[in-house]
Symmetry: C2
Subunit: 500 residues, 2 copies
């Protein structure tokens, strides 16, 4: 049985040991079934099948059963049993990981622990601006419930119809509203979790001040289920949007784009909630993809910007007036020479549809390697230009593009295959060397090889290659201290000895 | 020599072992001196004396030397040597701890490592809203440097003339601006630190998005120097105050005070930066203390409120207009029936002087036990009333008061001695039982026994008594994993086996 970090290392090296470790006994399965009941124990292969692959079809695992507890007490009992019998568990929410973070090992050595039945919003309060959600609550459900009481939960992303609160916390999810409201970390006020020994960490109280030592909540956020299973959280709500204005403008360089953001924030305050940047070539691909779509501005420049201003109250100038003030100041400073402000909600949605079609449009340009990277905000304009040039020079025939959340120092950086090559073959052959090249550029710029998607399986080896000795030691020491048997989400996040 | 958590437990139990462990060899001292030079190695007892007691004179230690490295490399070298020779270190900044967190052990088994020579502001940028400060930078110095470039660092407290950035981070300091800007945790964007093995964690880059596993930065914030020494940090700056209005009003109950805050935030936005609450009896004590001071309002009610509105820009209604709007709405709802708004800066400072004299005025009312506690904000009004009544009932002759940061769910709760008793004797005899009583009430209310001062030596045993098994286990496991020899700030924060 897989009983710790060191055996898990050996798993990769020794096929024979692998064979020995995969056996989860029938007796153990029966014990889990006894704790969780028929509804909480899924062993029909057809019911398991959809959950052992990631949604993009890149990672494939097997599992003899899915454990589906309905309460925190059941999670605790299941984890305690797993600890007793050294059965590894892979926590899973909506299975929307971009890095294979929720896919079980291929050798069947682990069970999936699904939080989807824990989908209750335990409490919600407009006066306290708080919602207490179980881990399996789907993001879009929380959006609806918050809206019904005149509040909103200001984090959203493409997978909102599947992604769950527990997964969003465990991956410290981002999205398009981070600029104003922060990542998931900034929105979690309290956490309830089951630790690897089956004990329950009770921390749902939303305390604005609490200095009782190491912050377990902060440690669990972004831990990818490797040191505990988040079962519920207290989440911060914000006022509903009282007034909104969406604009489109274009600039000559990413530097001008960042200058525009700074100018806007200094003239109209911290009310810019959306600030998405894309290159003109990418926009062309979007316009080719969407029938009837057109560029909102009459003139085109090399870089386009979607900008949204949101107000919580109707106090002071309107959102539109503020956006006009900001754009007017940018005209005066010569940063922009054309801009459009949506005149109604339909037009605003059309502007956003251009942004939301970017990934699909990029795919239409051919096979590409995609990087989710961040650098300090002030360095991002240089990075966008220089990294693109450097990659195109190093890998002749490739072309690059970057788009996304410039104001967060986080763009999605793509390296497209040379014209005419076989896509899958090119990715298989050139992927590792191009990835290493791009990640090295990120490290030189003081950035992160994972801005918002996490490490999972996909970036584990690269983290092992690039993390500082101090960081690697701390990651491994904390993992070993809290999960000495290595039963929590094995093979994710923590670089193995063979990775470094 | 003290070589880990278990020996450290035994220290308390075995005086003989204590005697054995105190010896730091002359050879070790010479090795530290060789690394740090004459300026970085203080062994004159007169120069050491001011730093081995806490500023309130409650904790007394001894140390054969103070190590005073001038650079991160010197800190790393000193810690590596300490690890090699198992010499415990007590990190120290301004020595302003309220809980004995920076006082060395009495047995002389540790050396002080002072960060005060690391007092450079390495970089500051108005456009990036960032300052990179070494650990020994004094808070008021940062205030001045930020002001000089049209920005401010929005955290302040009484000890700002002595407290250092490293200590403020290691204790996750609070203050009167937390309502709007958060505690130190919300203002730290990056950290450089030396871990207990002498390795350096390089994390100064201010990345808005970074999902590379457990957040070492968050773990070090509030860790009280027990798992590493913060050597520098990137700190968030905010715009200078463009417009300010300070008001005073009074209400019948703490519930009305909280309703007033919520009403203000919903009518004029998140621009309330100060919201301090005090009882009428406490105000009377302040007025008796300060010659010529008077209550800003003509009428008096049981509870008084100082409220400050701060604007970053001159966009929209003025701070005074907004405060009038909020107070006007409160009049209409019958929450208040009198209010005053300072007409100039001198008057505003007079209002604040009343607040800042509270601690001194409370002392004039006689000996008291003081508690720095928090509960969820919505529960604080009930807590203020019920905890006061319960303590007065349980300990006849005592009287209670609470004042401070209602909007953070954090008040300073005082239990005053019965009239005529010997203060020190009463504190010695009744202190432990009254403390346990108050802390139990806090736990029942879902709160924290340390809102902003930390655990240090003072609250370690109470944390051991009251923390959940899961929390205690996590604290001890992380400490043991990162500091296996127990050389970082021994005796602080982590409850010993004998405490539980």
């Amino acid at each position: 049985m897989n009983s710790g970090l060191i055996p898990s290392d050996q798993l990769e090296l020794s096929p024979i040991l692998t064979h020995i470790t995969v056996m989860i006994s029938d007796d153990s399965l029966a014990a889990f079934r006894a704790i969780l009941g028929e509804k909480g124990f899924i062993e029909n292969p057809d019911d398991i099948e959809p959950w052992v692959h990631d949604w993009r079809g890149r990672y494939h695992g097997t599992a003899r059963a899915i454990l589906a507890p309905a309460t925190t007490a059941e999670v605790a009992a299941a984890v305690a049993l797993a600890a007793e019998r050294a059965v590894p568990l892979v926590p899973q929410g909506g299975n929307t990981s971009m890095v294979g973070g929720a896919t079980p090992p291929a050798d069947g050595s682990a069970l999936i622990l699904s939080l989807r039945r824990m989908n209750h919003i335990r409490a919600i309060s407009a006066s306290d601006n708080l919602a207490v959600c179980e881990a399996g609550v789907i993001l879009s459900n929380l959006h609806e419930v918050a809206e019904a009481i005149g509040r909103r939960f200001p984090l959203s992303l493409g997978a909102k119809g599947s992604a769950t609160i527990g997964g969003l916390i465990s991956t410290n999810a981002g999205g398009t509203q981070v600029l104003r409201h922060g990542t998931m970390r900034a929105l979690v006020e309290g956490i309830e979790a089951v630790l690897p020994d089956g004990s329950i960490h009770y921390g749902l109280e939303a305390l604005k001040k609490d200095n009782r030592g190491y912050d377990i909540k902060q440690l669990l956020i972004g831990a990818e289920g490797t040191i505990g299973i988040v079962t519920a959280a207290s989440l911060r709500l914000v006022p509903a949007i009282a007034d909104r204005a969406v604009g489109w403008t274009c600039v000559q360089t990413p530097h001008d784009a960042l200058a525009l953001l700074r100018l806007a924030e200094s003239t109209i305050g911290k009310v810019v909630e959306g600030f998405e940047v894309l290159g003109d070539e990418t926009l062309t691909a979007v316009l080719n993809l969407l029938p009837g779509a057109r560029c909102p501005t009459a003139t085109r420049s090399p870089w386009h910007i979607l900008i949204e201003v949101d107000l919580d109250s109707l106090e002071g100038p309107s959102a539109r007036d503020r956006l006009e003030t900001a754009l007017g100041a940018a005209f005066e400073q010569g940063l922009i020479n054309d801009a459009a402000i949506a005149t109604n909600e339909t037009q605003a949605e059309e502007f956003w549809r251009l942004r939301e079609s970017l990934s699909q449009a990029e795919r239409s340009l051919g096979p590409a390697l995609q990087f989710d990277v961040s650098v300090p905000v002030a360095s991002m304009p240089d990075f966008m230009i220089q990294a693109g040039k450097a990659a195109e020079r190093a890998f002749p025939g490739t072309s690059t593009s970057s788009f996304g959340h410039l104001g967060d120092g986080n763009v999605h950086f793509h390296v497209r295959a040379p014209q005419g090559v076989d896509g899958p073959l090119w990715i298989a052959e050139s992927g590792p060397v191009i990835s290493a090249f791009v990640h090295d550029l990120v490290v030189v710029a003081g950035g992160s090889i994972s801005a918002e998607h996490g490490i999972g399986q996909m970036k584990r080896a690269e983290l092992g290659r690039l993390a500082s000795p101090a960081q690697l030691h701390a990651l491994r020491a904390i993992k070993a201290a809290l999960d000495p048997q290595g039963i929590m989400n094995p093979g994710k996040l923590i670089p193995l000895a063979s990775d470094t």
